[in-house]
């Protein structure tokens, strides 16, 4: 998928830039993006170490398992391919908790850990499983209780009621999460039909896929 998206992004951006005489902006943006990526990644290395380390501590202390047991019922519906008691349950639970609490720096590393666990279940295949897609979609729907950054910007912009938007944020997040779950389930069921997403066209169907 990214193979197509990336080409479309670069092609449309560069052609449009050339046509509208913004070639300098496009060129600058292209060249400076890599150092921006390195900066982001360096921050990420620290955050990944910190939260992966803490995650391991929480795992060994049994906290992760406890959290996973709490969410058992929901997980069976969302991730039917994940076996009972598999470490992926705990990793997903931790990742969702970090999302909900708005632990910005922790959410991405924990999400990556969970995705790698799901990939293990999928035999590290280059084709995403239904459970992996579901996890990605829920994460991208961003369930967050307190959008701290936005509240701070509102305050700086002189709002008399910065946190007044919170109920609206909850409703909107709920709508997007539920929509994401429904669409992901629906598309997983049609599964192999849209060939442009190259859903494997029937090869390598796993038990988890058949059940989903």
């Amino acid at each position: 998928m990214l193979n197509v998206i990336w080409v479309v992004m670069l092609f449309s951006g560069i052609v449009l830039g050339l046509v509208t005489g913004r070639e300098k902006e496009v060129s600058d943006a292209f060249l400076s993006s890599c150092s921006q990526a390195v900066e982001l990644a360096l921050v990420m290395v620290g955050a990944m170490c910190l939260w992966s380390g803490l995650m391991r501590v929480a795992e060994k202390a049994g906290i992760v398992d406890a959290l996973a047991r709490l969410l058992k019922g929901v997980f069976r519906f969302l991730f039917p391919g994940v076996p009972k008691g598999h470490p992926a349950n705990g990793a997903i639970a931790m990742s969702f908790s970090a999302d909900l609490l708005g632990l910005g720096n922790a959410a991405t590393p924990l999400g990556i850990l969970a995705m790698k666990e799901l990939s293990n279940i999928n035999g590290n295949s280059p084709i995403a499983s239904n459970d992996m897609v579901m996890f990605g979609v829920i994460n991208a729907a961003c369930i967050q209780l307190i959008p701290a950054t936005i509240l701070i910007i509102r305050q700086q912009a002189g709002s008399t009621d910065p946190s007044g938007i919170i109920p609206c944020v909850w409703v909107a997040s709920f709508v997007s999460t539920v929509t994401g779950i429904i669409v992901a389930k629906a598309l997983a069921r049609v599964g192999r039909i849209p060939p442009k997403y190259g859903a494997g066209n029937g090869k390598r169907l796993k038990p988890s896929d058949r059940r989903g």
Partner: protein, 173 residues
Amino acid sequence: MMDFLSNAAIPAVVLLIVVTAYIRGVPVFDAFVEGAKEGARTAFDILPVMVGILAGVAVLNGSGLIDMLTGLLQKPAEAIGIPREILPLLLIRPFSGSASLGLFSEQITRVGPDTFLGRALSTIMGSSETVLYTLAVYFGAANVKNTRHAVAASLISSYAGMLAAIFICRIIE
């Protein structure tokens, strides 16, 4: 109160984990370092994915595509109740985190944070995520080449949430 809650969340979680682990006899620091090593490796693996995604997004931002699309889509968007001031944010939000945050900060001072537009912009930002980046990093870390319906489902979910945000703010207004 909200400030306290969001600031205290991380220290509280860290305290809970470390104290519980210590009480249960886990060699806390050894376990931490073991996990951290794995984390460092993963982070380096993602760097090439990030360079690629950010290069694509940067080119799009620099090319003025968003301005052009805003001009084109303004009429149809207003017909279904999406204000002109919100359209650029809707277009850029799923693709670029830094660009949407910049746009948001600029727009909110212009329209005022407590107006309908200001509240709608804030709600959109607070309830959505940089979909493309999130998916690329997660699936990139897992070495997935074919993400199947992930991008389509995420974009649909994202736009459902953003449209809901505008709708709710309009009702509450």
